[in-house]
Amino acid sequence: MADDGLDLRTLADGDLVGQMHDDLYDGLKEEVEEGVTILLERGWAPYDVLTQALVEGMRIVGIDFRDGILFVPEVLMSANAMKAGMAILRPLLAATGAPRMGKMVIGTVKGDIHDIGKNLVGMMMEGAGFEVVDLGVNNGVEKYLEAIETHQPEIVGMSALLTTTMPYMKVVIEAMKTKGIRNDHIVLVGGAPLNEAFAEAVGADAYCRDASAAVETARALLARRQGAAMARETA
């Protein structure tokens, strides 16, 4: 039961989902966990709980962050609440064969240990149905290449917060070119000091302003790539 006395179990499904959006927005971890449990008890598919309650709630958080209404601490609280809900859903999603969008290898580049943005992107990508392999922080080029070879992801994501470390993204992309694998993967980059021009200059496919943008960009580029592959096959 929520702290204000609201019994979540008394709410109809639509109202409960709306309340969960509010609870995610307010970073109320226990309430979000309770909401997830109730929806599952009512026979909701784990994938529907994930997309309609959690991902949609975080999408609203993302919009208000972009518009300067919410700030990093509030977003982190929301992320913690979503993470708690995800922890309940993850094993169920695997067991019920929820749709998989693709795989992403993501990490913060060498010399940089900032991971807040990267973690948010990883969480939102997972919520959107991607399998996420998180390399953590301070990753040299060899770590990226090894992970690409091992996991064969559709998407490689690189993050940096420092102007001194962001040029390292070009080192990784050049190494991918040298290995002849650059065009086998979509490369997304992000981090506070980056922009579209930088992404283009280092040879990435796209710059992602925030976690929501990363999900939208990944989906769009993946669909374009699959469309192109299909066109080649039917030609």
Binding site: F71, V72, P73, E74, L76, M77, N80, G111, D112, I113, H114, D115, I116, N119, V137, N138, L161, L162, T163, T164, A192, P193, L194, N195, F198
Partner: protein
């Protein structure tokens, strides 16, 4: 941060050499005390609010506005800012306005020296840097700025990957040193102090002033 006037103030400090070539330094408010300690005659100093530290996307246009407001009154304008997380946007504004900036991505680099700073970052990427200003305003800029006063359990989300605090000290001041050490304790990180003094700032301003004098005598 309304209770910290030093963070929000856009201060102005007139120099004392009327009639000479007029030079204005536009600095981050976090550097005001340090620039004034150099006692540069004939140089006026004006500052943008140090609170922009937490909103770097606002720095470039704030700088442009400041430059244009003072352009007519000065022969030379200099910028005392790092890139400070603007992703090159500050340098693009300065190039358009014809204003020189001190070298370095941030004040840590130009206080410590670019080479020394790069060595420190290489030695331990998980280093959180404090200048004297940041040590004095740790509560407002870091604790309240990151919401740790409201959500203390987010500390590890922010600082979990850090290993140490390096206090780059501009002055020998026991009170500031104590504050820096307390800040490291609060973050649960090891503390190191490295004295930088003001040589990095002085070298940039001396060279810029020499350059300005050369331009004057050639004119």
């Amino acid at each position: 941060m309304k209770d910290s006037p030093e963070l929000d103030a856009a201060a102005a400090f007139p120099g004392r050499n009327p009639g000479a070539r007029r030079v204005l330094v536009i600095a981050c408010g976090a550097l005001a005390r340090e620039v004034l300690a150099l006692h540069l005659d004939g140089v006026d100093v004006t500052c943008l609010p140090a609170s922009l530290h937490n909103r770097p996307e606002r720095i470039p246009e704030a700088m442009r506005t400041k430059i244009r407001a003072h352009r007519a009154a000065y022969d030379e304008i200099l910028c005392l800012y790092g890139d400070c997380g603007t992703g090159g946007a500050l340098d693009r504004v300065l190039a358009e306005e014809g204003v020189a900036r001190i070298a370095g991505a941030h004040c840590y680099a130009f206080f410590a020296g670019e080479r020394a700073f790069a060595a420190m970052a290489e030695e331990e990427p998980g280093t959180f840097y404090l200048t004297d200003f940041l040590a004095r305003h740790f509560e407002a800029l870091v604790i309240r700025g990151l919401g740790l006063d409201r959500f203390p359990h987010l500390r590890d989300a922010y600082f979990g990957a850090y290993r140490r605090v390096v206090h780059l000290a501009q002055f020998d001041d026991p009170e500031t040193t104590a504050r820096a050490r307390a800040a490291a304790d609060r973050l649960g990180l090891a503390y190191e102090r490295r004295f930088t003094g003001l040589d990095g700032l002085a070298a940039f301003l001396d060279a810029s002033m020499r350059h300005a004098r050369t331009k004057t005598s050639a004119a």
